[in-house]
C-alpha cells in the first residue's frame, strides 16, 4: 500500500437510497452507458453522463413520488445530461475522431468496428431530438407514448422526429445495411 486514498468522509451509513441506487447500478449501468454512447458517442463522456444521472437521482430520492419509476427517472436524466454536455462541448461534434481508413486486408473484426463507428458518426450528425427519439425507439424499444413521456414532448412530435431521423440515418448508412 502506497498511501491512503480516502474517498468518503467518516460516519456514512447505507440508506434506502444507497441500496436502491446500488440495485439500479447492478441491473442497468451497462445498458445506460450504451444508451449514452448512442447519444454522445465518446465512451468517457457517456460514463460521466450516466454517473451524473445516478448521483442526481440519488440526491432527489426522498422527493421522488414513485420509486418504481426510478429507472424512468434515470433514463430521462441520462438523455437530458447528454444533451447538456453536448451543448457545452459543441466542439466535440466537429472533432469526431477520425481514425485512418482501414488498411487493406482488414479482417472481419475491423469491418465490424468500422460499421459501428459509421453508425455512431451518423447519429452524431442528426439534430438532437431525432437522435434521442431514434435511440429510445430502436435501442430501448420504447413506444411513442414512452418516448413522449421520457423526453417531455408530444406523441405527434415523436412521430415526426422518428420518421425524419430514420430516413436520414438510412441515407447516411446506405453502405452498411
Amino acid at each position: 500500500m502506497k498511501a491512503l486514498l480516502l474517498t468518503r468522509p467518516a460516519g456514512v451509513t447505507m440508506t434506502d437510497a444507497d441500496a436502491a441506487i446500488e440495485a439500479l447500478y447492478d441491473a442497468h449501468y451497462v445498458g445506460l452507458v450504451r444508451l449514452a454512447v448512442l447519444l454522445v458517442r465518446d465512451h468517457g463522456t457517456a460514463e460521466e453522463v450516466v454517473q451524473d444521472a445516478f448521483v442526481a437521482v440519488h440526491g432527489r430520492w426522498n422527493r421522488l413520488d414513485d420509486h418504481d419509476r426510478a429507472l424512468g427517472y434515470l433514463r430521462t436524466a441520462v438523455v437530458n445530461k447528454a444533451r447538456s454536455v453536448l451543448r457545452h462541448r459543441g466542439v466535440v461534434a466537429r472533432n469526431v475522431p477520425a481514425l485512418p481508413p482501414d488498411a487493406p486486408g482488414a479482417d472481419a473484426a475491423s469491418l465490424d468496428s468500422e460499421r459501428r463507428r459509421a453508425v455512431l458518426d451518423a447519429l452524431r450528425t442528426l439534430p438532437h431530438r431525432q437522435r434521442e427519439v431514434l435511440a429510445l425507439r430502436y435501442y430501448l424499444d420504447f413506444s411513442e407514448r414512452e418516448i413522449a413521456e421520457t423526453l417531455g414532448i408530444s406523441q405527434g412530435a415523436v412521430k415526426s422526429h422518428a420518421s425524419r431521423g430514420a430516413a436520414a440515418l438510412r441515407h447516411l448508412l446506405e453502405a452498411h445495411r
Partner: protein, 355 residues
Amino acid sequence: MNDLDTHDDDLRTLLHDAVSDVQPEPALHRIRSRTATRPQHGARTWLVGLAAAATAAAIAGVVVVTTQRGPGSDSGPVASPTASTSAGPSASTSAGPSASATATVPSTERALGIYYVGDTPQGPRLYREFHRLRVADGVAGAVGPAIAQALDRADDSDYRDLWPDGTRASVRGATGSDVTVSLSNATLDLRDRPAGTSAADAEAAVQQLVYTTQAALQQRLPVRFLVDGQPSDSLLGVGVSGPVTNGPPLETLALVSISEPPEGFEVTGPFRASGVASSFEATVPWEIRRGDRVVKRGFSTASGWMDKLYPWQTDPISVADLPEGTYTFVASTDDPSGGEGAGPTSDTRTIVVRH
C-alpha cells in the same frame, strides 16, 4: 412497440450492434463516493493521501511520462485539481509527433484498466488495476495516457515495475488494424533484456503494454512496437518484428484480479468487491485479513471459468462488526488440490474501515 412502424429491424440491429462492444469500467464506488451523506455535525475530515497526489501527477503527465522512481517521486508535479473537470486545452497539445489520433482537445477523464505484472504460482502474470486518467476524445485518445500509466507504478505495491527507469512512450498512430507505439530510453538500449530481468518477466512486460493498449482501445488490435522511433526485431529481448497480439488470457493474465475496491479504499458501510477470475468451478473465495489474521471470509461465484476470465462480484460485505483500522481484502482462485498443486493465485487490496 406496436404503434410505430415495424419494418425497421435494420436500424434496430445497427443501433444495438453499434454499442454491443461498450463495456464500461466499474463505477459503483465512484458513484457512492459522490452520494455519501456527510455527518450532521461539522467533522468533515477530508484526508487526501499521497496516492491522490500521485494520481494527480499521473493525470498531469498523461502524454509522455518518464518512469521516475525513488524517494519523493510520489509528490512529484501535481496537477491543479480543477484541471480534471475542465474541458479546456489539455496536456495532449504537447503530444507533438505522437499522432493526430491523440491530439484532439478537449479531453475528459476515463477509468482505464491498466495492467501490471505480479507474481503468481504460474510465474509473472498480468493483474489489472483501474486508474482515472485524462484522455483525449476518440477511440485512440486513451492509448497514450494508458501506456504512460502502465510504465509508471501501480497503486498496489505488490505489483512489480519491470520497465527500466526513464522509459518513455508515444503513440505513433492507429489504423483499423493495428496501433503503433514507440518506446525510448536515454540510458538503456530497450532492444536488449536488462540485467536481472528474466525472459518470462520481459515477455510479461511486453504483454503488459499490449493488454493495456487493447483495454484503452476496447478492441483487440495488435501492437506494432518501435524502439526510438525505428522498427526493431527485439524489445527487452522479446521478438517484436511484427505486430504483437495479446497472449492467450489464461497463459498471460493472473487468474484472479480485483477491480473494486481500489487500493486504500475507505469502507464505511456494506461494500461489494468485484473483479475477474478463472477459478475452479467458478468459485472465488475472499477474505478480509487484519495483519495475518483472517477476520472475515466468504466466496462469490464468477459467471464462468476455464476458457477465459469471467466477472465476479461479492454480495454486500458488512464491516459493522470490525473495529476501525487497516485491513487487507484478498480474492483468490479456488485450490481444489488442498495444497498439493501449485497453490492459488490471489490479488489483494488494502482497505480502511471507518465507522
